[in-house]
Structure formats: structure tokens, C-alpha cells
């Protein structure tokens, strides 16, 4: 292979001329993470210009959000960045809580932080794994997907779903962490660390990998900021901007973690920043699990066992309120932590905002009415008139929600600031002057998530 520095024209043998060629990549191409079209102008193998066409996955998230009530937006937010849906859930909920002016319990903050960080690790694993796979390291991809599987099992235990979690609620979370969460977490992190070690061994000093990552897709810090790039992509350029550190939300200001930054802003730095961020995320989760305020006792002190939800419904139907009035229900095998005992520590004490525990919905008329007033069409949470913007650190960068309320039961306008939108808009600049084969690692390191980009 002849060496060629980007930006210079390779020597032409006398008498041969080249002409510009247009190469269309996508919308459905195996090396595209989702559906996106790149129209590149090539001179030989060098990219002279590129045009990015997006919108293939546009589902009208913002329009649909205007037609449902505040909690009804939650499933739509899952589908923004579907690799780390818990961060979207959290961002939207915290924006709404800012608008409503309510404070959630501390344990709820910790739960959200823990699950956000677990999702962030999953997201980075996917990004690094997929990039490595496209460069030929299929083993790494399999290892990383294996590690992600452990983390998603963890998420599934808590939320009841792997990807479309809809776990947060305006004013709290759906269910508490289950009892053995910390142990499972330790196990999952052990596996993840093993995979990260293996990945370092397979990639970080691998000649084939580093040759393709070093010095490709370079962007300077100033240029990255002018494009609005945030997240690991920006930090690889040396700019130290992390929403968790610079505008701390939830309990991030109390948790120990470092913000890894790169120096060169190329693909290799982005890979290294992501690898280190996973380690830092695990550090956050471990500290959070140590500091989290204790949860409630799960069993009913009288009977010593929780009442299954189905049994509770039957008892309520025949009016046997005494038998269930003080009890805890087991709502379902996947949602062990959603009984009444958990409520004070996972949800804000605001009847107009948060759904009652299932025991109350089935067990007494107040609970039933509260439930209906929140879930029936035309009722729901009635936020005051106002507008707020709330940013959180998504896996790709600053994920912001801008909510305008006109006092109705749903958002008047909901805007999501998708982090990879900014990175994609800078993609032509990143690609220009590189070789066509450099497109693959550069595009991989963008971590384009169609659901978030096109909304």
C-alpha cells in the first residue's frame, strides 16, 4: 500500500487524467448504521466532497407528542435513541419536572442515574463494536454484543423490557430496583470489564485497526463546537464539555467520575474516549449503588408475603378491602419494584402528577379516581403555562428537550435536540480530503442513530 497524506493529490503518471466521479452510498448499505444516504464526489480514491441526505426514519416524533398527554410521550422517547432509551426517558422526565416545578425523591434520582449509565455503556459498546466489525474485527463485535446482553438483562429485570423500556414517568420511575440488583450489576460489570480488556488487547495496539483510525476523520475543537457537536465526539478533540459535569443534574455532582478527553480529534481518539467513558460509567454506577438511600422493605409485615396482583383484583372485586388495605402487590414478574411500599422513594408526592400504586388503584376509590384522572383522555397531568429547556448527557452528546405548555394535558410543543444531528451535519467536513475507505471508520465513530437523527 502506498502512503498518501490526506489533502494532497497523489502523483499521476504522465499522460493519464482523472475525472471526478460520483459515488452513491446508501440509503441501505451494510456499513451504514441505519438508513442514510451519502453522495460522495471522488477523485481517484480521495473524497472531494460529500452530501448527506437524512430523514428516511422520520416518524414525526414532535408532531405526535403534541397529540398525546405528558406521560403518553414516554413510549415515543424510547424510540429516539433506541440503544440507550433510558437516557431519553430521563431527559424528557426531567424537562417536565422542571416545568412542573416538582422535586423527585433522592432514591429516584439515583435509580435514573444508575440506569442511564448502564444504557450509556450499552450504547458505547454498540458503537465501538460496530465500528470494529466494519473494519474487519468481527470478534470484537461479538464480544461487545455479549457484554451488552448482560447489561440489557439488567435493564430488563428492572424495567420489564430490553429496548422500549418506557421506564420513567413524569415525577418518578415506574418501579424500584429489585432486591438483587446490586449483585447482578457486579456480575454484569465483571463481564463487561473482561470484554473491555479483551477489546483493548485485540484493537488498541492492532496495526490494522490503528492504521485506519489514526489521523482519519480529523476535526478541531473550535470547528466541532461551531457545528454544535457534543459528547464523546467533541471530547475527543480536547474540549472538556460534559453536561454531567458542567451543568450537573440529578445527583451527578455527588458522584465521582472523570471526563476523558482526547487530543487529536481523530477516529482513534474517539475510540479511546468511548472506551474510557465506559469505565467511568461503571465507576459512577458503583458509587451510586454504594450511596443510594435504602429502599423500603418489600414484604407485607402482617402476612410476610406480597399479594399477587391478580389475587388483589379478585379481592377488590368482591369488596374485601380489609384483606388488601395494607398489603403490597406483586404487579408482575418483571416489575418487582412497583408496589406501594416503594412509592415514597421512587415517585414525587404529587397526586396530580404521578399514578397511584396498583394496590391503591384496585383497593380504594381515591386511588381509582386518581388513576383515571391521570390516564383518561382529556385529563392527565395539567402543567402550568410555560417553556423550559433541559439538557442531559446522552450517549452521543447533549440531548435536550424544549417543552412549551399552554396549560393543556399534553405538550403544546416538544422539541428534542438530537445530539447526532449536529455530528451528521459536520460529516461532509470530516470526510473531505480523506480516502473513501476512511469513510467507514469515520461514519462508525459518528454513532448515527436513525431514530434520534430523524425523529
Amino acid at each position: 500500500m502506498t502512503t498518501h497524506t490526506p489533502g494532497t493529490t497523489p502523483k499521476q503518471p504522465a499522460g493519464l487524467t482523472t475525472r471526478e466521479m460520483m459515488l452513491n452510498i446508501g440509503p441501505a448499505h451494510p456499513a451504514m448504521h441505519g438508513i442514510v444516504r451519502l453522495v460522495t464526489k471522488l477523485e481517484g480514491e480521495e473524497i472531494k466532497g460529500a452530501e448527506v441526505e437524512i430523514g428516511y426514519l422520520h416518524r414525526g416524533f414532535e408532531k405526535m407528542a403534541e397529540t398525546v398527554d405528558y406521560n403518553g410521550v414516554m413510549p415515543y422517547t424510547d424510540r429516539l435513541n433506541y440503544v440507550s432509551p433510558l437516557i431519553n426517558n430521563m431527559g424528557y422526565c426531567m424537562a417536565m419536572e422542571k416545568l412542573l416545578g416538582i422535586e423527585v425523591p433522592e432514591r429516584c434520582h439515583y435509580i435514573r442515574v444508575i440506569l442511564s449509565e448502564v444504557s450509556r455503556i450499552g450504547d458505547h459498546l454498540t458503537c465501538v463494536g460496530a465500528t470494529a466489525m466494519e473494519l474487519g474485527a468481527f470478534t470484537v463485535f461479538l464480544y461487545m454484543i455479549k457484554a451488552r446482553e448482560y447489561l440489557w438483562d439488567l435493564v430488563e429485570k428492572v424495567t420489564g423490557a430490553r429496548m422500549t423500556v418506557s421506564y420513567c414517568r413524569v415525577g418518578g420511575v415506574k418501579a424500584d430496583l429489585q432486591d438483587d440488583f446490586a449483585e447482578l450489576c457486579v456480575k454484569a460489570f465483571m463481564e463487561t470489564r473482561k470484554v473491555l480488556d479483551e477489546t483493548h488487547g485485540l484493537l488498541t495496539r492492532n496495526r490494522i485497526f490503528t492504521d485506519r483510525m489514526n489521523g482519519t476523520g480529523v476535526i478541531s475543537a473550535e470547528e466541532a463546537i461551531s457545528y454544535g457537536i457534543t459528547g464523546p465526539f467533541l471530547r475527543a478533540t480536547g474540549a472538556e464539555y460534559d453536561v454531567r459535569k458542567d451543568c450537573p443534574y440529578a445527583v451527578y455532582d455527588r458522584l465521582p467520575f472523570d471526563v476523558p478527553v482526547g487530543t487529536r480529534g481523530d477516529n482513534m481518539d474517539r475510540y479511546l474516549v468511548r472506551m474510557e467513558e465506559m469505565e467511568q460509567s461503571m465507576r459512577i454506577v458503583e458509587a451510586a449503588l454504594r450511596d443510594i438511600p435504602p429502599g423500603p422493605v418489600l414484604t407485607n409485615p402482617e402476612t410476610g408475603r406480597p399479594i399477587p396482583a391478580a389475587e388483589m383484583v379478585d379481592l377488590a372485586k368482591v369488596g374485601n378491602i380489609d384483606a388488601i388495605s395494607g398489603g403490597c402487590a406483586v404487579a408482575g414478574p418483571t416489575l418487582e419494584g412497583s408496589s406501594r411500599a416503594q412509592y415514597p422513594s421512587i415517585a414525587a408526592d404529587q397526586k396530580q402528577v404521578f399514578l397511584p400504586a396498583k394496590e391503591d388503584t384496585y383497593g380504594n376509590i381515591e386511588g381509582l379516581m386518581q388513576n383515571f384522572k391521570l390516564v383518561m383522555y382529556g385529563h392527565g397531568v395539567r402543567a402550568p403555562k410555560g417553556e423550559v429547556y433541559f439538557p442531559v448527557e446522552g450517549a452521543n452528546g447533549e440531548l435536550g428537550f424544549y417543552v412549551v405548555s399552554d396549560g393543556g394535558s399534553g405538550p403544546y410543543r416538544l422539541r428534542c435536540r438530537p445530539p447526532c444531528f449536529a455530528i451528521m451535519s459536520a460529516l461532509p467536513t470530516l470526510l473531505e480530503g480523506d480516502m473513501i475507505s476512511d469513510l467507514i471508520p469515520t461514519f462508525g465513530s459518528v454513532n448515527m442513530i436513525g431514530g434520534e437523527l430523524d425523529r
Binding site: 458542567d246 392527565g380 451535519s425
Partner: protein
């Protein structure tokens, strides 16, 4: 800089350009006249005391249906009128949307060095052909964000190098995030141009 001094320095610099300002839930907002946008944005970016080098977001709001009840979802089947629950009281009320203007373009700025945030709101009174200056000369990142606002709201950005649709296809008719665009409306997909 805190919110009040941020608002104060913008107001002092552009006394004619700033029409209102407020702080709501910790977010500082400055409402600008249409023609003052470009200069204010340049001031925010280049003034050493502001140093707002990061254009976080550009979006717009169509206020034409504000306070007129929510848009019925197309899957809501019951025609029963309900008396909704009372609004949650707000001890620190919001001053309200811009009067008269149908559209408002909303910019969010952040300073990485100084760690402060500011929102600029630019109401556009012209309903038939809304136009506002483009910020692409200051931030290349404004390019796509403004294209999206044009696509979704039909607001023209003067001086934008390549204002075309970004999320919808080129043959799409109308602007979907306008309040008068029905949520359940369907459009036939026209084949490719060539």
C-alpha cells in the same frame, strides 16, 4: 454570569432590539425584534464577557393554537366532553407567548467557557411569508437546524446557502409542524425526480 446580568448586558447593548425579557424556571429568555437577531447573535458569540460559542439549538413554535385546547389525537374515539383536572398552580408564572406573532423562532446558546445559557426568542408577525436572518455565517451548525425549521414550519432563513427540506422529501407539500397541518393527513409519495 448569572441570568439577570446576562439579560441586562444584552438589553444594555441592544436597547432597541430587545422587546422583552424574563427568567422562568431558571431559564433566561430575551425576546428580540426581527431585525436585531444577527447582531445580537454576533455579540453573544464574540463579546469576551458572553463568549457563547455554542449554538445549542434552533427551533420554532407555532403559537396559532395556543390555549385553544389540545389537538385531538386521531386515535381518540370517545366524543365525550370532559371537564379536565385543574391546572397545577404556578407560584412564579410565565409571562406568556409573544402577542400577535404566530411564529417564534427559538435559539438556545451556551458558553462552554463561562457555563451560562441564554434563550433568544424572535417572534415573526408575518404569517404568510415568515422570514428571519440566517445564522449560518456565524455557526456552520445552524445550516441543518435552520433547514429543519424551514422544513417543519416554512420559515425562510435569509442568507442560508442551501435552504431545502431535510427530514421530509422534496416533493412534500406543506409544513408538518404547523398547527394547521392535520396530524392524520396523508400525502402520496411521488417517485424520484429523475
Amino acid at each position: 454570569m448569572n441570568n439577570s446580568s446576562l439579560i441586562e448586558s444584552v438589553t444594555k447593548r441592544f436597547p432597541d432590539g430587545v422587546s422583552a425579557s424574563h427568567t422562568y424556571r431558571g431559564d433566561a429568555t430575551v425576546v428580540l425584534q426581527l431585525d436585531a437577531l444577527l447582531e445580537t447573535a454576533r455579540f453573544l458569540k464574540e463579546d469576551p464577557a458572553m463568549e457563547m460559542n455554542f449554538l445549542v439549538d434552533v427551533t420554532a413554535v407555532d403559537y396559532s393554537a395556543f390555549g385553544k385546547g389540545s389537538v385531538p389525537a386521531f386515535f381518540s374515539s370517545s366524543g365525550v366532553t370532559v371537564r379536565p383536572s385543574p391546572q397545577i398552580p404556578d407560584p412564579d408564572p410565565w409571562p406568556g407567548p409573544p402577542d400577535k406573532a404566530r411564529f417564534a423562532v427559538v435559539y438556545h446558546f451556551y458558553s462552554m467557557a463561562k457555563k451560562h445559557r441564554l434563550r433568544l426568542q424572535v417572534p415573526i408577525e408575518d404569517e404568510t411569508s415568515p422570514e428571519v436572518d440566517s445564522l449560518t455565517s456565524l455557526w456552520p451548525g445552524a445550516n441543518w437546524l435552520e433547514r429543519e425549521v424551514w422544513d417543519m414550519f416554512g420559515i425562510v432563513f435569509r442568507g442560508h446557502p442551501d435552504l431545502k427540506r431535510i427530514l421530509m422529501y422534496q416533493e412534500f407539500e406543506g409544513h408538518p409542524l404547523r398547527k394547521d397541518y392535520p396530524v392524520a393527513k396523508r400525502q402520496p409519495l411521488i417517485g424520484p425526480l429523475n
